[in-house]
Symmetry: D2
Subunit: 328 residues, 4 copies
Amino acid sequence: MEINITRAAHLEFRVTDLDRAHDFYVRVLGFIETDRDEKRLYLGGLEEREHHSLVLREADSPGVSHLAFRVASPDDLEQLASLYQGNGCPIRWLPEGSEKGQGRALRVQDSSGLPLEFYHEMSRREWLLQRFELYRGAHVMRLDHFNCQVAEVQRAYDWFTSSLGFYCSEITVTEDEPPQLWAAWLHRKQNVHDIAVMNGIGPRMHHAGFWLADQGSVLRACDLLAASGYADHIERGPGRHGISNAFFVYLRDPDGNRIELYTNDYLIPEPDWEPVRWRINDPRRATFWGHKPPPSWFDEASRVESIETGEFVPTASPPHRDRPEFVT
Amino acid sequence: MEINITRAAHLEFRVTDLDRAHDFYVRVLGFIETDRDEKRLYLGGLEEREHHSLVLREADSPGVSHLAFRVASPDDLEQLASLYQGNGCPIRWLPEGSEKGQGRALRVQDSSGLPLEFYHEMSRREWLLQRFELYRGAHVMRLDHFNCQVAEVQRAYDWFTSSLGFYCSEITVTEDEPPQLWAAWLHRKQNVHDIAVMNGIGPRMHHAGFWLADQGSVLRACDLLAASGYADHIERGPGRHGISNAFFVYLRDPDGNRIELYTNDYLIPEPDWEPVRWRINDPRRATFWGHKPPPSWFDEASRVESIETGEFVPTASPPHRDRPEFVT
Amino acid sequence: MEINITRAAHLEFRVTDLDRAHDFYVRVLGFIETDRDEKRLYLGGLEEREHHSLVLREADSPGVSHLAFRVASPDDLEQLASLYQGNGCPIRWLPEGSEKGQGRALRVQDSSGLPLEFYHEMSRREWLLQRFELYRGAHVMRLDHFNCQVAEVQRAYDWFTSSLGFYCSEITVTEDEPPQLWAAWLHRKQNVHDIAVMNGIGPRMHHAGFWLADQGSVLRACDLLAASGYADHIERGPGRHGISNAFFVYLRDPDGNRIELYTNDYLIPEPDWEPVRWRINDPRRATFWGHKPPPSWFDEASRVESIETGEFVPTASPPHRDRPEFVT
Amino acid sequence: MEINITRAAHLEFRVTDLDRAHDFYVRVLGFIETDRDEKRLYLGGLEEREHHSLVLREADSPGVSHLAFRVASPDDLEQLASLYQGNGCPIRWLPEGSEKGQGRALRVQDSSGLPLEFYHEMSRREWLLQRFELYRGAHVMRLDHFNCQVAEVQRAYDWFTSSLGFYCSEITVTEDEPPQLWAAWLHRKQNVHDIAVMNGIGPRMHHAGFWLADQGSVLRACDLLAASGYADHIERGPGRHGISNAFFVYLRDPDGNRIELYTNDYLIPEPDWEPVRWRINDPRRATFWGHKPPPSWFDEASRVESIETGEFVPTASPPHRDRPEFVT
């Protein structure tokens, strides 16, 4: 039976000051604080029903400890363990409750070096979708996707599509002849992506995308950030992506971890979707309106932890230039 | 020199329970509480700079104590006193500070029986327009207008336009031949109205209109009201008015006083605007999309106080049917 | 192997005047005309890639000829044929091209009497998602769902969930003890529904829901309809549904066929979603803001054709009252 | 009696290709074409009632021929002629009909060198505010303001406020001690400005601002421009201004003339408004969210014609740096 990964489900950011992170994520952006303990804040969105979709863990430097995907049954976890072990990847089992609210989970360091987690059981919380009186800030609805820089994007693409059953919605290719894969947007749930992999210094976690219900919420986030002294945390946008068609803004949290507020992508209800194809230097690819991303958007990303040591995984350089020619 | 009334500026509602009113106006709808004393809450909008635009006064029944207009100078107050006295209307001077934050003010019972207040001085408060972190609820920006039912609408129209210098943006006429005036939208500031007078049992205050920045804020107000247990306080709309083109919703506060949340009207920068003319039975007049107002919208309105006794002014019936034929 | 129906894909309305229907759907609402022949208009949305999602066929009375679902492979068609035949339902094979752009298709009259079509192959057209210069009217993005009245809703629910693999997002139950199923929202693609079945005189097609990208598009549709003389074709709303959370408006086309413009529902990426449960008389169920649907919304619906004769299928009455108590 | 200028009313851009300009303004942005003759296109917005608010005149280079203000009566024209003559400025009378639809008009070259026009009479056209079926593109509602670079901003400010009766809504000052005036936003109609004057190489017309009804229209304009091949005509934004609070985008037409699409400013119904004061280097002044304007926004502007010769007026440099320190 095929492995059934259902969606990108949560991630854990390292932050150096929980109070400062709380101010940014909860007070200003309106993430729901669903739980907390001494070293962690558990946050979620208004459309989600699980215990958390974002964990902020106090640490001495920013970064990412793991990116979690939910699977459809406990049996999928066993299959994934075998699959990754067969591929020579380190794995580690976390007993139920190691992460608050979560059942038994599998951590793996995949062949790109990304620290992935798979789990099936997670405690539920009250659904807030129609508790409009609790909507605050950017009205964050749900985690949508992860975007990662990897040194070998073709290999990552092959693994996710062939072994894990991800579908591809859009790709970016180089200007070479024949064109080489530069990035891919891959999904299990039925929208543009659960994970994107981009050619870049990696393994690094580039950003986590959170879905909002409308464009106005993206703009309101900018107003709120600026009014709260966080104007310089708006890194790129707001704007329209060529890829995914989403209306977006990229933010840096007080530790420099990057999130995207994201809306207006599209549904892909079928397995035989023909991927949309972009060339890396098409000026409308990154921002449909022609705006150039700042160099920091390509230079900077979150280091990721080893699932075994908690130290950062070493990075390697990619074979292709890591940005369009029009970005210096 | 001509009297210079600048705009509809504030009003005082009678409410029977200040805490309950606070819940409705402040917690749910997001009016700014700018001040309070034992018997009154002072509220305002995000775009305003004056001490208050809505006073909620504890009383044993709902109603309206006065509707206030600002004037451009203290001298306008003297001229208005003479004008109303010359017209046989009761007047009363309120010394500075009688109403919190307000300088010397003139109250009059106009010939329609409406309790009007005129003032020039009012203390200022911090401007919150770009304090986006304080935006809550419906994001109420500013008081826009009063709408009153009067028994003699032609007479009220004549007074406001001829003696007080109001301009007329739109009118509604009866189906008679020749058509009779049924209602008029009158303004001093440069949008559709500061006050509307409608043919109906009067004097009664029908509603106070508060201006929002966009349609989404009107819809969000409905979501918030419903989520907070106030669904049955949504009386009419949301919808698009034919008159004024505004996107609106009418709400009843916990005491039954009516407010309108209102956006998308238009600017009238010039004195020679040619009034838009509607027939009372045009189905697009009240709601451009054809929705019929409920009978309560015509039946019910706030009684108004005598400026001398504080008792409610007796009402009289109007000469014309008080609603379109398609409303029963 | 399990049958894999991927989504509600298209339907065919009978209309008595193609030009009049074109005016309503294309000129005013902005549906894309993708093709036409002597007796049919083929329409689609901006996010779709297939030849059509709505067919308007000239006929002597309004109604629905078939509701089509796409399947993941040709083999699913064979399985469905066996399944329906085994259930005693009439089936009919349509050779490739019987419906413009479409491959071989299976028509069935299901046990509720609904005329369903299943197909896998359909020709593609240019994707217009980023052809913003072609956006018109309500910016209709894609067909979202069908809503049908059936005389035996529990039986329809059982069939769709047990035999066809539909998931249930929300249900409505009667006030009986124990509660009886009154309606169910069922999906294959990952949002609230591909088909809803409601207790009512059936088989009838109640409405087809088309998805828009934002609330503003629903409001703009109302403005456009009213400005174009179609105000009385706005039957219910705009408003927020309790069920599905969607912001909606219901329209009647010039022949009385009903469509819903619909946005703001939610994603259900997982098979173990716990259905939301509403009681039929909860005033927030139908419209979260408390607005009552008009009686016509329950009384009137489109008759459906026999797949064998093209005549309308006889209807039967349901066991439960077909509307909430507060609708008369 | 005081001169009564009512508002910024229209302007004339020089364009080198009328067809190309038509494509940009009418087909893509949705300006209403109200009239045309051999050498001119007359355009207007949906909320306006006059013959035109933007004239595009074929010429051999881009630029501006005149900026027109409406006055409340013909007598104001006489007073203005005397006033400007008394100030040593060239004036010229245009007989009725010299500009299509327009009555007798006065042209002056003001002391900053700007070619201003004043008129009272203009033919009316059908009001399109509720002709929603004619809304296209960015749904341009009305001309809002002119923004000009002048070499002596204090002198321009003094003239407009003291002699012409303009009110000041906001100012920008230098970082000098004492601070010097760097720019001023001046109005006659009751919003933030009819004309802004900025310290820069002048006289030049920097941009004409057109008002839209909502933020979504600004974003839709960007989508439409990019989809139509005009992505590189989006010069700055979309974003939120600190000054005026407006949500905006700056566009360059095919000839390089600059317009602003603009919404969400505020109403100033009273003469005693206390101007908002910004320092030139405040990063939130130009764009509240901290985005830096591109150098082109300061470098480039439209040359203006001599009212006597039609040649461009020579420019002079201003006393202060023409941009914030953070723009290079």
